[in-house]
Symmetry: D2
């Protein structure tokens, strides 16, 4: 595990929400991140599908960490904004978000990400995000 | 409580996520909804702020139910898409999302919503959403 | 006309597109700008409505100049991203975009804007924008 | 030229704006469309770059026609909403927008599109769009 992956995984481990969702970072590359979580009735909307806000959560974290993997050494990353299209009901055993950096800038990094529902080994595209992330100086701790 | 508020509150009560977040629907009007939840370390990102996905969750539910309050009688509402700008860190004792319908159509309803952090009785604007909701025929159950 | 309005209007006057559209900056305040243009068949889509891209143009310029009106003295403003909902066909004698700053930051400024069609003295809401603008150091010239 | 391409090109030919921009539909496939236009000082913003609203115009038309290429026979397509990230200044001899359908539904179709600046045979990514299009019954004429 190289220094960048280490930095990304250390930050991910500090996200209370990802731990509450039992989410796992299943892949980290330069400008790409994959995050996965399982279905639980705790995360549903009124029809029993997973709530758009939960799918957004793994998409947003995937975009943020994809951006962080290309950020300057002393930087961390905050979400400026994102747009999500919900393409199909979030029905499945598990859900995976895959983010990729479209453009890494000095201050802003633009990422896109797709979310898939997993059912019996098959993947179905359920949502897509286009997001703007911002590099900010890491706080001393 | 009139028929519309009853329908809105009944659907809200079925959202597993809102119950998991201990979220409360603090107001329902024609084309307006307010949802509130409290801070918990379970919902944080790496800096201890509440995760953008959680703020998005209450903004999205508020928009959806604002749309539902103006939807045809036999309809329910699904999120088509939303865009969220994060304006300030989600730091506070509690968070409130206030949604308002900008245009209610036969098929699509457009809503905007603002989220505020509450600290010692003061409100601070932390996020804003612009969302597209869709009326769909209610499933028999 | 104060220094800020002068700076905003001088930049607006340099936008070739606004001049091509015969657009007029009808109001400038601190954090608010209004831009107006007239109908012309040159700007239409396939049904004879004004094209979404033209309505977006006046919304984007209105947001950019609303942001500029609150930017540091030596800064200019560039558009990072925007999202537009088209709420009704752009049918009318003229169109007006009104932008307001939601949050002015050191680097990023978030604006919302509404566009209206004007017909016989009546206004109809036809589109809404939520945009992110960025302050950048003004180039010497 | 098959029936779908014919329908797409006939609608494109009716867009006053595309003709004003001297835009050309350089490719049409099932779920994909490419539109190109040339630089002209008429379309600029204050720095002499092409205005975001013009780039949005070719991105939006490309998304709309990509959606139309997969729409039911008697339908036309209207833009519901789009989000655009501006990734680099629109500086170049010409600009091309390439759209692809991400999900074609009965009512709504979701498209993504990228815009490139062309300079001496080289392409540079300058903007990206994520858009929602709606199928509507074609008006008799």
């Amino acid at each position: 595990m190289d220094a960048i992956e280490k930095k990304v995984r250390a930050s991910f481990a500090k996200q209370g929400l990802m731990s509450t969702l039992d989410a796992e970072m299943t892949s980290v590359g330069t400008g790409t991140v994959e995050i996965r979580c399982s279905f639980d009735a705790k995360w549903t909307q009124q029809n029993g599908f997973v709530h758009a806000g939960v799918i957004t959560s793994i998409l947003d974290s995937a975009c943020g960490y994809a951006a962080l993997s290309m950020a300057p050494a002393e930087s961390e990353v905050l979400s400026v904004e994102f747009k999500v299209n919900l393409l199909a009901p979030a029905v499945g055993e598990a859900f995976v978000a895959r983010a990729v950096v479209k453009r890494a800038g000095k201050t802003l990094t633009i990422c896109s990400a797709d979310a898939y529902a997993l059912n019996g080994g098959r993947e179905k595209l359920i949502a897509t995000m286009l997001a703007t992330m911002m590099n900010v100086a890491e706080k001393a701790s």
